[in-house]
Symmetry: C2
Subunit: 285 residues, 2 copies
């Protein structure tokens, strides 16, 4: 499978021997999600912190959807907290808990990162789209002039779709089991990028050069594929945002059919530098 | 100074090269305090976790006294949190936020550790007294049949005084700027240990063989000494619970006068094994 090569080329893959000394002066970062076991951020982000020499650590926090408000309120009371990352199911609701948001978050209506200023102000932004495209670039792929199918228009899907639209694809097609949600994202993106053809269509990858799964389907514990794998044409670039398993059922089936596959860790690795710059912004770390 | 030897003999002093890999599956422990910069737990406890091979990390959380309730409520919502440590000023108020407490916590009316069960129940206990006496034993000292002066009867002071009383000293004298508080602790300990002479007296170390500072006086940022150093007799064992600086003004003055000195890290190191057993109790880590 080609994915073996791709994965071993991942930038910043964890060098497990690096020490992570923790003291009372260590700045805190946290990633909130449910489930949390599968998140790749602790490994990749802590490696990035260590390489930068930052006295900082990112820890996983298992927080269920109904607990988001109380968890974030608690985190607000921790004066050495410098940043928060949000993963499913918190990316959209997270918008309501910050003092300001960046332009990408405004466009895609979700955040995956919060800069916790020393002045107490929380600023949210979304780096998933940037990360996905940077991950593609790392592996030598561009979306410009390509026909792209994005499956799922939740927090991550909207972010990826916006980044794809900005990169001038030949066509951007959105699919979501919630057709209304897909339609709303289409409207937003058509307004923001009037020169790009944004459509809503069925989850049929056959006529697309790039297909990106932004749903949790395939995540450890669930199974199945977000599209019918028999509709995947050889040579299609199949991208999955799911982190664990590294090779989802979708990616395994795609690789077996001669597709090029990209695991979810690329989208995370592709945003690490931008995340660190964001967390470092102004007064932090 | 003798303290140099003592400090280098500290058990479990951080070997900075040990890796601490963090993943989404890492269990979380936190220590809450204000200030937080000086706490030694992240270094010592994480070293202990690593030596035990536990997939766990302890992080410092800077939480001010008025924020304790909201911080703990937030932590309750984090399903992978397995334990909490409390340091000043939270040890006494922390009692009100757990579902049950152990016998030592009941006696000394404060907690420094919470076991967060997977069933959602929080159980508090206090290991400061055990840690202080274990720290003394590590350096070859016993309090049995000794005249002991404990300065400060807040959360840590009460815990240390109770452990001293249990160890059958010739005399246990308590001092606190808040005389009423010292008197209440004296009553509690006299009731619990009727065979021990527990008194309340002035902060005059001259006639005592062991003096233990359980106040924050001398902590980095503050200065001064909780007792008049010129009243320290050569040969007195002077113990400080302050972690940072390692050699407080009190310990420096005491060493200069020919006293034996013990820095605060001993009290912490002396409770690490008990803390790990407590955190590991039943379902955890």
């Amino acid at each position: 499978m080609r994915s073996g090569v791709a994965v071993s080329n991942l930038p910043d893959r964890d060098p497990p021997g690096l020490p992570l000394p923790l003291t009372g002066r260590t700045s805190l970062f946290a990633i909130l999600g449910d489930p949390i076991d599968q998140v790749g951020s602790p490994t990749l982000i802590n490696t990035a912190f260590r390489r930068r020499g930052w006295p900082a650590v990112l820890v996983p926090l298992h927080v269920k959807a109904p607990d988001l408000a109380v968890a974030l309120k608690g985190l607000r009371s921790m004066a050495n907290l410098r940043g928060v990352m949000l993963t499913a199911p918190h990316k959209t609701r997270g918008l309501g808990f910050v003092d300001s948001i960046g332009p990408e978050a405004r466009l895609v209506r979700s955040i995956n990162a919060i800069h916790c200023g020393k002045d107490g102000r929380w600023h949210g932004e979304n780096f998933d789209g940037l990360g996905c495209l940077q991950g593609l670039r790392t592996a030598g792929h561009e979306v410009e002039q390509k026909r792209v199918l994005v499956i799922g228009t939740g927090g991550a899907g909207r972010a990826v779709a916006a980044a794809v639209a900005r990169a001038k694809p030949a066509e951007l097609c959105l699919y979501d089991v919630d057709q209304e949600r897909a339609g709303a994202v289409r409207q937003d993106l058509s307004a923001a990028f009037p020169d790009v053809s944004v459509t809503v269509g069925p989850p049929d990858p056959e006529t697309f050069e790039i297909m990106i799964n932004c749903t949790p389907v395939g995540m450890a514990g669930s199974c199945g594929s977000p599209v019918d794998p028999s509709r995947l044409a050889p040579g299609t670039l199949v991208v999955d945002l799911v982190i664990e398993p590294e090779l989802t059922y979708l990616l395994q089936a795609a690789a077996a059919r001669g597709c090029i596959v990209q695991p979810g860790l690329f989208t995370l690795a592709g945003q690490v530098d931008a995340l660190c710059a964001f967390f470092d912004g102004g007064d932090n770390v």
